[in-house]
């Protein structure tokens, strides 16, 4: 299970935040579950912005999860694009989804379950990344499997082993993944900007379907609270 960490680099975070706002392509990511279940992220933006994003997400284009699911085609990337343009997002949407399961957050706003995902496939980004506390994130695409690993900082120690996740779904157009560590499933939303990668992970869910049904992180305006009310974790690319 990915672990959050307290390290924060405000300057870096703000630059990431601006990059995120500029890159509407990442508006796919809206909402995210418990941050402490995932690689954390340096905070981005202000709380006020997040609140606004949250409210916009709720107000966006509510629909039931069921209807959202039924209305989407496997290739409904357009829904995400729509979501991006609408600036929808939100913690509020996520919370609704989490509590009701039929959260009316998806629809055209794209905040509902992932549908434009393919089994396995190559990661959109590979390499070695490290956060400000030197927690390392390794992303690899092997011929038959994509994986990512979280490695604690410092010399390898038996008391702090790494975590490895097998990517079960890669979702277009960008950085959403459904991954499993063999016992639980997670949704991860990624934001890449240059050499930096912001990550938000959901809490553990029991099944792949449940993970697919999770709402995305909120990327609309800020990543400071877009990950279930918590900041994304920002990693910087390092040497392979």
């Amino acid at each position: 299970m990915p672990q959050s960490h307290p390290a924060r680099d405000v300057v870096l975070a703000r630059s990431i935040s601006r990059a995120i706002v500029a890159l509407s392509v990442f508006a796919l990511f809206i909402g995210c579950h418990d941050n402490d279940a995932v690689p954390a992220i340096d905070s981005v933006g202000s709380a006020g912005t997040d609140e606004a994003a949250g409210s916009s997400g709720v107000a966006g284009s509510g629909d039931t999860a069921d209807s959202a699911g039924s209305s989407r085609s496997p290739g409904s990337a357009g829904a995400s694009e729509t979501a991006s343009s609408s600036g929808s997002g939100g913690a509020a949407g996520r919370e609704v989804a989490g509590s009701a399961g039929s959260a009316g957050v998806a629809g055209a706003g794209g905040t509902g379950p992932l549908s434009n995902c393919t089994a396995g496939g190559a990661l959109f980004v590979v390499g070695n990344y490290a956060d400000s506390a030197d927690n390392q994130l390794l992303l690899r695409t092997a011929p038959k499997a994509a994986t990512f690993a979280l490695v604690p900082p410092g010399v390898a120690s038996p008391v702090h082993p790494p975590q490895l996740f097998l990517v079960n779904r890669v979702c277009a157009p960008g950085g959403a993944l459904i991954a499993s560590d063999g016992t639980a499933n997670y949704r991860l939303d990624f934001i890449q900007s240059g050499s930096q990668l912001a990550v938000c992970s959901s809490a553990a869910v029991a099944t792949l379907d449940a993970a697919l049904a999770l709402p995305p992180a909120n990327l609309s305006l800020s990543a400071s609270t877009g990950c279930s009310g918590q900041p994304f974790t920002v990693y910087t690319a390092g040497a392979l």
């Binding site: 499997a145 010399v155 082993p161 063999g182």
Partner: protein, 468 residues
């Protein structure tokens, strides 16, 4: 280590020639030879060694002891890194003023205790195997729990896991005594005070019968005489009724090497090593095997073993020069593995008159037909650098002792860490035969790399890279 040099192949042919006439060693010649080189030191005249039985489950910093050699030379005790590997990990040391010359190292039957004869008129040290460490080799002079007896030693043998028997003495006479290792520094128990000659080796068979002999003979006693005593007399000696060499026991054979380095295999065959270059007895340059049939015949009152009768006695000669001053024999029962080491400093056609020790003794590993081959790749476990993963080629590209087929230490730094994780990820999802399959990460040996393997990888994280 696979890939025997030419002279070892020649030696094997010699062994085959002998064994074809003797049922007792036929089994050991049915498989290819595998070579082994023990560690050496300029501080020591020779290298002592013993091998953990194949049933031992103890590990040292993750490294399994099962079937691996322990070697003592200079000031250091080494553990063989892996089956078939000539790589030796320091696991204990002596003090800066100590040297082992010559010495013995003997592992108790249950693998939990180790006896070290530091050398001629040097102390006897007994310590728990658990003290050994790859990451922080202890100094046996100062480590807690180490028992030291200030007794002379030449060779030793465990009788059970409690009593250690020692043969020690000087030219004209030697003695056999026992140490109760469960005591602290209790006085030695006299077993046989009157051996007419320099110390030889000693060994017990599975029933507790004792064999010892004359390492270097004077007067009427010849070098290489071996005698056998029934277990009941040994029990009596432990209870206080010492044995007399001349007046008890039965002569088993005469002129068997120099009667040093004795041991029994699980069939009851007696192996004899030694080397008497000083005495000009011509008992050097080979090891011998006294068949189990001959041993039992003598024990029951029959004729002594005939060195010229192949059914009674055969020679194992790992060195085609036959000029070694010390040819030693070890046996790991559960692995069906017999190892004969010799000094191969000179080789044909430039054989020296004698090859003295100091260089790392090289040896051959012989395996019985019943020797386990867990991965069925034709390489017996005791010589297989990946005994759980079929790899008949035994390739080890980085020379780290782990066969490529089971090498989990990608960066060869001795620790399971991030670079190894990266390699595992590169192989993730692959199955045997695919280009990116890396057998070293198939920890559960199910021919695929998946999360189950990562679960086992995680258990090794930050620990010594022990690849099985």
């Amino acid at each position: 280590m696979f890939s025997p040099p030419a002279h070892l192949l020649l030696a094997t042919l010699l062994v085959l020639a002998f064994s074809s006439r003797a049922s007792a060693v036929d089994g050991y010649s049915t498989q290819p030879p595998y070579s082994l080189t023990l560690p050496a030191s300029d501080l020591s005249y020779g290298t002592a060694a013993d091998v953990f039985d194949g049933s031992i489950t103890i590990r040292v910093d993750g490294f399994p002891l099962r079937g691996r050699f322990l070697a003592a030379v200079g000031r250091t005790i080494y553990l063989q890194k892996n089956f078939g590997a000539d790589l030796w990990l320091p696991v204990a040391t002596l003090g800066p003023d100590d040297t082992m010359d010559p010495c013995f190292i003997k592992i108790s039957p249950n693998g939990k205790e180790i006896a070290l004869g530091v050398g001629f008129y040097k102390p006897l040290i007994v310590f728990e195997t658990a003290l050994l460490s790859v990451s922080a080799p202890p100094n046996l002079r100062s480590a807690p729990g180490v028992k030291i007896w200030d007794e002379n030693t030449y060779d030793g043998a465990w009788r059970g896991n409690r009593y250690l028997f020692i043969n020690a003495g000087a030219d004209a006479g030697s003695q056999l005594y026992a140490i109760d290792t469960e005591g602290t520094t209790g006085a030695p128990i006299p077993i046989m005070p009157d051996i007419p000659g320099a110390s030889g080796g000693l060994a017990f068979d599975g029933a507790g019968n004792l064999v010892t002999g004359v390492g270097f003979g004077y007067g009427t006693t010849a070098t290489g005489q071996l005698k056998i005593w029934p277990a009941s007399l040994v029990d009596a000696a432990l209870a206080g009724t010492a044995l007399s060499y001349p007046e008890s026991g039965k002569v088993l054979i005469e002129g068997a090497s120099s009667a040093a380095s004795l041991g029994f295999d699980s069939s009851g065959n007696l192996f004899v090593g030694g080397g008497d270059v000083f005495g000009n007895s011509h008992q050097y340059g080979y090891a011998g095997l006294v068949s189990a049939d001959a041993v039992q015949r003598v024990l029951s009152g029959g004729a002594i073993a005939d060195p010229m009768a192949p059914a009674d006695y055969v020679k194992l000669q790992p060195d085609p020069c036959h000029n070694d001053d010390a040819t030693n024999v070890w046996y790991a029962p559960s692995l069906g593995m017999l190892v004969v080491t010799a000094n191969l400093t000179s080789t044909p056609p430039d054989c020296a008159r004698f090859d003295m020790t100091r260089s790392g003794p090289s040896g051959q590993q012989f395996f019985s037909p019943s020797a386990p081959d867990t991965d069925s790749d034709g390489i017996p476990d005791g010589a297989d650098n990946a005994y759980l993963t079929p790899n008949p080629d035994q390739k080890d590209a980085d020379g780290d002792g782990w066969g490529d087929a089971a090498d989990c230490d990608a960066d060869n730094d001795g620790v399971i860490n991030r670079s190894d994780l990266s390699s595992l990820m590169a192989a993730f999802g692959s199955v045997t035969g695919e280009a990116n399959f890396a057998g070293g990460y198939d920890f559960n040996h199910d021919a695929q790399i998946d999360l189950a393997d990562f679960a086992l990888f995680k258990q090794r994280w930050g620990k010594n890279a022990v690849c099985e």
